[in-house]
Symmetry: C2
Subunit: 154 residues, 2 copies
Amino acid sequence: MTDQLTVSEVAKRSGFAASALRYYEREGLITASRSDGGQRRYQRDVLRRLAFIAAARRVGLTLDEIRHSLGLLPSGRTPNKTDWSRISRSWRSRLDAEIDALEVLRDSLDRCIGCGCLSLKQCGLSNPQDEAALRGPGAAYLPQPLHPQAETAR
Amino acid sequence: MTDQLTVSEVAKRSGFAASALRYYEREGLITASRSDGGQRRYQRDVLRRLAFIAAARRVGLTLDEIRHSLGLLPSGRTPNKTDWSRISRSWRSRLDAEIDALEVLRDSLDRCIGCGCLSLKQCGLSNPQDEAALRGPGAAYLPQPLHPQAETAR
DNA sequence: GTACAACTTGAAGTTAACTTCAAGTCAAGC
DNA sequence: GCTTGACTTGAAGTTAACTTCAAGTTGTAC
């Protein structure tokens, strides 16, 4: 009954499966100390990290991006309000951008319903910003993906 | 020089890779007739379908969902403005919902920066709506995923 | 009529983010 | 001290959405 949490406690309180917690640990997103017998023991701290991870995943960030964000937290001490604020703020612009993009898409959709176009070359729906000219001729009409997983793999 | 397009023409004009076009065909999202020699020949129509697919992917719809949407198009004739409008409109609510969710998240983020909480139980960031009570105790603090791929696989 | 780019196929590979499995070890209550 | 549930590990499996590959075929420009 120290301040340490077991895997199942963290799983229950964070909503993540135990297997996900082990995966996140392997991936360096969270850490855990060990009991004498080798079982994981988590600091309460980890719940805050996991809350952040859950929120970030929800916005569509990849684990890579999340790891990077979390890497900005202080290494020695327990992160405080200011630490979290700093990295949360960097998110804010991503959120704003995503909201903007969705709104553009929604409004284009309205226009498309109005004009019946949904054509490749003129419709804002498939060619939201005028960025076609900026890219190669091949990919001219594909909009920037909002979500990484909607992107063509290399 | 009929109205038929080759794979590479469609690829260039749609922005999709040829391999993606074949994949979409296998998956039943688009169709193609064949030349005498067995090569694919696309109707111009396919470009509109692909524009729709690109936009849908961009919003985060899965191919399954897109296939379902496209399934609502008429089978005999070329889809017209009204056909596209009908299925586009069904999207609109999804877009609105996603925008709303992101705005809630953004505003929660602001509050969190203000109060420094980012705690699991009280923070809107990790527990956006009061839906915790509605779900099982295990997953109480995980918000609904916005994007299917952010969801825990079964 | 030939060269060569564009096309065809099925099978296998890729990536992210996990889960599942098997075979064993630890912890805690009685 | 024993039982039982919680925990451990590494390896392999899963899903979506594609891409890559190899080996052969077609289309067309000269």
